[in-house]
Each structure stands twice: as structure tokens, then as C-alpha cells.
């Protein structure tokens, strides 16, 4: 190797403790979303066979169920998108996207979002890595609900995460979900009259009984 003569003579863990976000010691910092530099990172362990055990076992707060499905809304309407091991999936900015059982709303960012599923190994569970641009200035995140029956936009809120800080996203998310669930009118489609299901946050531990029931369904 060409540069061995000029290698820094010190273990990398001593040079930079967080040099590897996947290391056991650092990984818990990324169970939610954590802005670092130009990006926001999230790492989810895929540890549940189905949604039934989400939030009921002592695992990280945002673990995934293996049977989850992922959706996006594009020009053709709602489409299911695959999560293929070792394949980067880039959800382009502005595309509403949702993961079944993980969060009961459509997330829309102003930044591209890269999702990489990694299968389990002999020593580690499967993971889902999420990397998305760190919002700056007027760049925003939105939480929205589209009608289950006709895909009309039913309810939406926006947070200017570029100025308010992405760290506040989940606090805001909790408030928006509760606002949406608080009135049947919010969930009622203005176009077809369909009453859409109760929503839920990304944290099963916060679920009300009604939200828990909804998480098990969609």
C-alpha cells in the first residue's frame, strides 16, 4: 500500500471516536435522525419478523419489521417500491413516501433521501441506512395524508427544518400526528368523503391504544 510510511501511528478510534457510524458504541446515536455536517443520518435495525412485536421488546425505538412495505406517490399515483439488499434507493426531493408500520403519514422532504438496506450477517442484524441532505435556509419537511380511496391531499403541515433545525423534527411530528388524529374532519377526504385511518408517529412507545391498533394495520 502506497501510503503506509505516512500512516498516523495511532488507532483510528483514538483519532475520531465516531469514525464509523455503524460501530456498536456510536450506532444508538442514529436510531432517530441525527444531522452531522451536510447530511442527516438514520440507521434502523430490522429485528422484527412482523409489526406485532414493534415497541414491545427491548430493542431500539425505531426498529423495522421485515414484512413492511414501502410506498411513494409519483405521476402514476401510489406505487410500492422495493427495498433490495445492497441497492441504494434514492427518493427524490418532493416525493411523498411512507413505510408501513414505521410511520403513519407521508413524509415529503425538500432534499433527496438515500436508503440502503443491508442484510444480516453472522454478527449483525439487517440494517436500513438512511442518508438525506441536511435542510438549510428555507428548505422544509412536510407531513401529509392522502386519501386512501382517491389519493387527494387531505391534510398537510410543513416545518421549515432549514431554519428551525432538524433536531426538532420528531417533536413536531408528534404534535402534527396528534392534531390530525384529533378531529375526524381532518381525516375526512374533501373530495370523496372517505374517513381515513388514525395516524401514528415513528415511535411505537408513544402510541395511544388507537394509534397502536392503526399501526398494526397500515
Amino acid at each position: 500500500m502506497l501510503y503506509t510510511d505516512v500512516y498516523v501511528d495511532e488507532p483510528i478510534d483514538k483519532i475520531a471516536e465516531d469514525w464509523d457510524f455503524m460501530s456498536e458504541k456510536i450506532l444508538p446515536k442514529f436510531y432517530g435522525f441525527r444531522p452531522v455536517g451536510d447530511n442527516v443520518y438514520g440507521i434502523r435495525a430490522v429485528t422484527h419478523d412482523t409489526q406485532a412485536t414493534l415497541g414491545k421488546e427491548k430493542t431500539s425505538p425505531m426498529d423495522l419489521a421485515k414484512n413492511r412495505r414501502n410506498f411513494e406517490i409519483g405521476p402514476q399515483g401510489v406505487v410500492q417500491v422495493a427495498r433490495t439488499p445492497f441497492t441504494l434507493h434514492v427518493t427524490c426531493a418532493g416525493t411523498p413516501h411512507r413505510t408501513e408500520y414505521l410511520f403513519g403519514y407521508w413524509h415529503i422532504n425538500d432534499k433527496d433521501e438515500i436508503i440502503l438496506p443491508l442484510p444480516p450477517t453472522e454478527t449483525a442484524p439487517g440494517y436500513l441506512i438512511i442518508v438525506m441532505g441536511h435542510p438549510k435556509e428555507r428548505e422544509s419537511d412536510r407531513i401529509a395524508w392522502y386519501c386512501d380511496q382517491c389519493t387527494s391531499l387531505v391534510f398537510m403541515r410543513e416545518m421549515v427544518t432549514g431554519t428551525e433545525g432538524f433536531q426538532r423534527f420528531f417533536q413536531w411530528e408528534h404534535a402534527v400526528v396528534r392534531e390530525y388524529n384529533g378531529k375526524v374532519k381532518s381525516r375526512t377526504c374533501w373530495n370523496c368523503g372517505h374517513v381515513n385511518p388514525i395516524a401514528y408517529t415513528a415511535f411505537p412507545s408513544r402510541d395511544t391504544p388507537e394509534e397502536r391498533e392503526s399501526r398494526m394495520k397500515w
Binding site: 500500500m1 502506497l2 501510503y3 510510511d5 505516512v6 500512516y7 498516523v8 501511528d9 483510528i12 469514525w19 464509523d20 457510524f21 455503524m22 452531522v36 455536517g37 451536510d38 447530511n39 411513494e72 406517490i73 409519483g74 405521476p75 406505487v79 417500491v81 422495493a82 433490495t84 439488499p85 445492497f86 441497492t87 441504494l88 434507493h89 434514492v90 427524490c92 426531493a93 418532493g94 416525493t95 411523498p96 413516501h97 415529503i108 425538500d110 432534499k111 433527496d112 438515500i114 450477517t121 453472522e122 454478527t123 449483525a124 441506512i129 438525506m132 441532505g133 441536511h134 438549510k136 428555507r138 391531499l153 398537510m156 403541515r157 374532519k185 381532518s186 375526512t188 374533501w190 373530495n191
Partner: protein, 205 residues
């Protein structure tokens, strides 16, 4: 029929971005080309167990830091913007961006998979620098900055290859201004463009 809902948005009347369907880039089956789309420039690749693995190196004031390989556990490493880095066997020069890069490596069944994602900030990478680092004293030299916002990322790779060829052809360009050590020949990004000497340099890492 119920009235359309009030949309609480930060800037009323601002058009929302039209949805564009997502796209995928496979690490194992990648064509090895860079893909510049939206907020990122993305490269993916893999190495069979019989081939030497790619090794990410970062430059620091104290010397060169190799990012270690960890069998059976994935690595996610952030390369902070402005930090020169080099990946042995993948490209022989060093690169510095005006935006962060993310390096991920993960073992698959028969190969190790890699990805390098450059970006996260709107309009970047806009400035990308090609340079060399002396393997005897770690001094950096021969830097040239390319406007990748205007010229595109492929243009940067073309310029880098031209600079590699000029570098290899002229020992004065390969001589470290600090310790006078002559840097060995280098190589560009795409192996299918290698000359025999560049191929040899790539194999040596």
C-alpha cells in the same frame, strides 16, 4: 362535498415540488460509473474476495489515516467537506469536495460492496479538487480545483485523468515540493481507461 383543506405552509402560494419517481443504484451490479442526479453524485462498486479490497484513506495534518476494513460488519464513514481522500485501487489521485461525502462498505456473500455518495447540500458538489499526497512526507501538492456545478462531475473525472497522464509523464510534476521524493505513477478513476502503466499502478494500490 367538503371544502378543500387549508394548507398550513411556510410560504403560502409557493408551488410544491412535483413528484419525480425515485431511482436505484445497485452496489454489486453497478457499472462502476458515477451517477450525478439531484443532491448527490453516487458511485457504487464491489470487489470479489479474490481481489484486494478498496481502502479509503483520509489526509490529516498528522498524516494519512486508513479507514480499516471490518469483516462481517458494515462501515459507514463520513468524509467531512474539505478533507482530501483517496481510495486505493479505485483512483490514484486524491479528491477534496466542498460538501461531505459518505463511504459505506459492507460484505456480501461473495464480495465486499462499496458506495461513495457525495453531496447533501443544494447545488453541491460545486468545487472538487484533484491533488496528490506525498507517500514519504504526507505533504499535499499539485492541487487543481474544478467547478463541478458548472462543468459536471464527469468533466472532473476527465480532467483528473488528463492530469494523471501529465503527472505520470513528467517526473517534475511528481516531485514533492517539500521532501523531493518522486511520487510513483498514478491512475484515473475508470479502470477500463487505464494504460498499461496505470493498470500496474492501480494493482499496486
Amino acid at each position: 362535498m367538503v371544502a378543500a383543506p387549508e394548507r398550513e405552509t411556510a410560504e403560502r402560494g409557493r408551488p410544491h415540488p412535483a413528484p419525480e419517481l425515485s431511482f436505484t443504484v445497485a452496489m454489486p451490479d453497478s457499472d462502476g460509473k458515477w451517477r450525478r442526479h439531484g443532491d448527490y453524485a453516487i458511485w457504487c462498486g464491489s470487489r470479489k474476495a479474490s481481489e484486494p479490497g478498496f481502502v479509503l484513506h483520509e489526509w490529516s495534518e498528522r498524516g494519512v489515516i486508513p479507514i480499516p476494513y471490518r469483516a462481517q460488519r458494515p462501515i459507514l464513514h463520513r468524509i467531512a467537506h474539505g478533507t482530501p481522500y483517496h481510495v486505493s485501487h479505485l483512483f490514484g489521485f486524491w479528491i477534496a469536495h466542498d460538501v461531505d461525502a459518505v463511504w459505506i462498505e459492507a460484505d456480501g456473500k461473495d464480495a465486499t460492496n462499496y458506495t461513495l455518495m457525495v453531496g447533501g447540500s443544494t447545488g453541491k458538489p460545486a468545487d472538487t479538487t484533484c491533488l496528490w499526497v506525498c507517500p514519504k512526507c504526507a505533504a499535499s501538492f499539485g492541487a487543481e480545483r474544478i467547478n463541478t456545478a458548472r462543468e459536471g462531475y464527469d468533466h472532473f473525472l476527465d480532467v483528473a485523468l488528463k492530469r494523471v497522464r501529465a503527472f505520470n509523464a513528467d517526473s517534475a510534476l511528481r516531485t514533492c515540493p517539500k521532501c523531493k521524493n518522486v511520487h510513483p505513477p498514478s491512475y484515473g478513476f475508470y479502470a477500463d481507461q487505464d494504460s498499461a502503466a496505470e493498470r500496474s499502478a492501480r494493482d499496486a494500490g
